[in-house]
């Protein structure tokens, strides 16, 4: 397949993300990478679970966490996962405009999530003086949730970059795999969050 066909396909195949060898490589490689990310977050979860009682006389999870905010954040992120499924649905139907719209909604929801998370950290730091340096629990909490937040920031920047870069030229066989793996990344962020709200927040207030 020549470069021209990749950028200007005569007809989009049913699975444009896997139509080229590069696309197939990206698809497999990114799933493998997510397998590695699983171990990365497992190490952080394990550390958190080992240290979540080590408050060193400072604030404990029961004192800190409120569930309202976490519930809203969870809803935002879960919904953004569905909207990114919609985006990929339209990508496969070669409907670039709709894909961009749904990705835009995904980004907006992700930004909302991020805003709440920043507010939450700010709240803990200023009202409870609960920081990375307060206790081993504080270190573990900010590192685990912060790593997830870092992934959200990276994922949002990635999707926004892709949307802007391709806004004018639409879908082709070169950028379809990029959109697809970015959406996989976004789903994985949601997977991690499901465990964070369960293990950190829900089990934290019990």
């Amino acid at each position: 397949m020549s470069e021209h066909d990749v950028l200007n396909p005569k007809e989009m195949p049913l699975n444009p993300e896997k139509a080229t060898l590069e696309g197939k490589n990206k698809f497999i490689g990114f799933w493998f990478f997510l397998g590695g990310e699983t171990v990365l977050f497992a190490s952080l979860f394990g550390t958190y679970l080992a240290l979540n009682g080590s408050t060193n006389g400072g604030s404990s999870s029961q004192e800190l966490f409120g569930l309202e905010l976490v519930f809203i954040m969870t809803m935002l992120l879960l919904t953004s996962s569905l909207t990114s499924v919609y985006a990929m649905y339209h990508m496969k139907n070669n409907d670039f405009k709709k894909m961009q719209i749904w990705l835009g909604i995904t980004v907006a929801l992700g930004l909302g999530f991020l805003g709440f998370e920043i507010y939450e950290f700010y709240h803990y730091i200023h009202h409870y003086e609960f920081t990375l340096r307060s206790s081993a629990f504080g270190s573990a909490f900010y590192t685990l949730v912060g790593f997830h937040g870092g992934h959200v920031v990276f994922g949002l920047s990635w999707i926004i970059a892709l949307m802007i870069r391709n806004a004018k030229r639409g879908l082709n066989l070169y950028n379809a795999p990029k959109f697809y793996i970015a959406s996989l990344y976004w789903h994985f962020i949601d997977v991690v969050w499901v465990f964070i709200f369960t293990v950190v927040y829900l089990m934290g207030v019990l």
């Binding site: 020549s2 470069e3 990749v6 950028l7 060898l21 197939k24 490589n25 497999i28 490689g29 493998f32 990478f33 397998g35 590695g36 990310e37 171990v39 990365l40 190490s43 952080l44 394990g46 550390t47 080992a50 240290l51 009682g53 080590s54 408050t55 060193n56 990375l132 340096r133 307060s134 206790s135 081993a136 629990f137 504080g138 270190s139 573990a140 900010y142 590192t143 990635w158 970059a161 892709l162 870069r165 070169y174 990029k178």
Partner: protein
């Protein structure tokens, strides 16, 4: 072809630029070989300093502090900056050729992996010139590491973080390459054993390195940002570091050892003129070792106090690994049995490996017995054990691979006489150095101490050990001389100087940059051998001559790695003065900026046209 002629007379600058921007796996292999070889020599010099300090009782060749830095940097360097990249050198040079691919799956990431490794490796060593390298042992146990003054351990943490990212990228690249890029007919059960071991080792990299990544982040936060993961005063627990380190650290042993097994499997089969005995059992054993390798890490922590239940589980799991390893040892022996054996340097290393590694394996079962390990722990017995495994297994394999694949990489055979001299010096020197250390350990000599007292019966053993180290050094120097003399005077050889069995020998040495003009049709295990037995010279092509798609070179991997390198200094020195944070922003800006550039700039590669290929064949 006109460009071919031009390559012969290029200036130094253009060659340098070519290597800085290359995405060709064969050139990246050479970069890994040179960089890994350099760190191997520096690490060896550190080892010589250690042995010279221990040559007599109460020696004062180096100070206690410098001794700690030497043992730390020797261990870290040999594992992460010598053994790993040298393994990657041969994986890069050979795996794509063995599976009949024109390139790896992610040429750009392949280059990024190398540059991250190199900049991380440099960062790790910067401590030497800024007033003290890392001195907490290569395992960097907390609280020794978290309270170590100066920046030595910071350089360890940041350096390993950067080079570890490179290794992870390299691992994913090889996984996908082996999954997606195999030539027509190259089924999984027809893959050469080196490719299989590279595959399993890459999977281990994928699952083991993230644990190290997290461990290093926690260590970095503790040292640089005041967190309390490993600080009991804040409720932290230093055992967490030990777990994370060894969850990574034990698979790491197999990440190194499995490709070494693969190298020997190729060499022994080739020079016995026999198909590898028990191929499927070898594949099974490789996968089983990889699987079990994840469930044994806590045997490094028997004396921490995990209790008898945990110790027993990990002891049994550890001993179980002896079974697949035993399968491998017997399969090599049976491959030799009845073979038409040709003894050359590569084969000498392989034959030397079998008993040496078996010794390391036997002491491995000894230290795996948790109750006995209370005696062996932190003594020279353990030092002897892991040098038998890592040197006797991995370094011997690297020497063997150097001799075996040198003609494929550079088109010349390393001098055989000099090769054999290297082998005998190194082999005898190795056993002199480390065999006696088993007994020093049993006599109670602890590891990592900078002096020992007179009159405790340790003098003679240590003197012999140091003498052996010098023999190894002589062997290595002879090898270096061999490389130089071969490069200058060696004669060019053809594509298949050994009469070998696998695909990499079906193409010219060194291979053209596109590897295979036509992808070969693989009809079974040892595809080239099959064609030879049926009287053909080379492989049957699986496709007509056509345009070949190639990736573009890129300077971005270098820039990206440089960005992380700069940011690393910022992270370290902001602990003294927050103004240094500006370096973090600059460095991360460069790194993330180049990532963005990579993302938005189309890179579709180019095509070598069919007409040029045909024309080149005629010339």
């Amino acid at each position: 072809m006109s460009t071919m002629v031009a390559t012969n007379k290029r200036s130094f600058g253009s060659v340098l630029w070519d290597y800085l921007t290359t995405v060709d796996h064969k050139k990246i292999a050479i970069l890994y070989l040179v960089a890994g070889g350099f760190f191997f020599i520096v690490g060896g010099l550190e080892a010589m300093a250690i042995r010279w300090q221990l040559v007599t009782p109460m020696n004062d060749f180096v100070s206690a502090g410098l001794y700690n830095e030497l043992i730390t940097m020797h261990g870290t360097k040999m594992i992460f900056l010598a053994a790993m990249p040298l393994i990657f050198a041969f994986m890069n040079a050979v795996v794509p050729l063995q599976i009949g691919a024109r390139d790896v799956a992610f040429p750009f990431l392949n280059s990024l992996g190398f540059w991250l490794f190199l900049f991380g490796g440099i960062m790790l060593n910067v401590g030497w010139i800024t007033g003290g390298a890392a001195d907490a042992g290569w395992t960097a146990y907390a609280p020794l590491s978290t309270t170590s003054p100066g920046e030595g351990v910071d350089y360890y943490v940041l350096g390993l973080q950067i080079s570890g990212a490179g290794t992870l990228i390299g691992g994913i690249n090889f996984l996908v390459t082996i999954v997606n890029m195999r030539a027509p007919g190259m089924t999984y059960m027809r893959m050469p054993l080196f490719t299989w071991t590279a595959f399993v080792a890459s999977a281990l990299i994928l699952f083991a390195f993230p644990a190290l990544t997290v461990g290093l982040f926690l260590m970095m936060f503790d040292r640089l940002f005041g967190s309390g993961f490993f600080d009991p005063n804040m409720g932290g627990n230093s055992v967490i570091w030990q777990h994370l380190f060894w969850i990574f650290g034990h698979p790491e042993v197999y990440i190194l050892a499995l490709p070494a097994f693969g190298i020997f499997s190729e060499i022994i089969a080739t020079f016995s003129r026999k198909r590898l005995f028990g191929y499927s059992a070898m594949v099974f054993a490789t996968v089983l070792i990889g699987f079990l390798g994840f469930m044994v890490w806590a045997h490094h922590m028997f004396t921490v106090g995990m209790g008898p239940a945990a110790n027993s589980i990990f002891a049994v799991a550890t001993m179980a690994i002896a079974i697949p390893t035993g399968i491998k040892i017997f399969n090599w022996l049976f491959t030799l049995w009845g073979g038409n054996i040709q003894i050359n340097t590569a084969m000498l290393w392989s034959l030397g490996f079998i008993p040496t590694f078996t010794l390391g394996g036997m002491t491995g079962v000894m230290v795996a017995a948790a109750s006995a390990d209370y005696q062996f722990h932190d003594s020279y017995f353990v030092v002897a054990h892991f040098h038998y495994v890592i040197v006797g297994g991995v370094v011997f394999a690297l020497f063997a691979a150097t001799h075996y694949w040198w003609p494929k990489m550079f088109g010349k055979i390393l001098n055989e006489t000099l090769g054999k001299i290297t082998f005998w010096f190194f082999f005898i020197g190795f056993h002199m150095t480390f065999f006696i250390q088993h007994f020093l350990g049993l006599m109670g000599m602890p590891r990592r101490y900078w002096v020992y007292k007179e009159g405790q019966g340790l003098d003679l053993g240590n003197a012999i050990s140091t003498a052996g180290a010098f023999l190894m050094a002589i062997g290595t120097i002879v090898l270096l001389y061999n490389v130089i003399i071969t490069s200058v005077k060696g004669e060019k050889v053809g594509g298949d100087p050994w009469g070998a069995r696998t695909l990499e020998w079906a193409i010219p040495s060194p291979p053209p940059f596109y590897n295979f003009k036509q992808l070969p049709l693989v009809r079974g295990l040892d595809p080239l051998w099959i064609e030879k037995t049926e009287g053909r010279d080379g492989m049957t092509p699986a496709e007509p001559i056509g345009d070949i798609h190639m990736p573009n070179n890129s300077f971005l991997p270098f820039i990206m790695s440089l960005g992380f390198f700069i940011a690393g200094f910022g992270f370290i020195y902001q602990k003294y003065d927050l103004a240094w944070l500006s370096l973090v922003f600059i460095g991360m800006g460069i790194a993330l900026g180049s990532m963005l550039m990579r993302s938005v700039k189309d890179d579709l590669g180019y095509h070598i046209h069919k007409e040029d290929l045909v024309k080149e064949a005629k010339e």
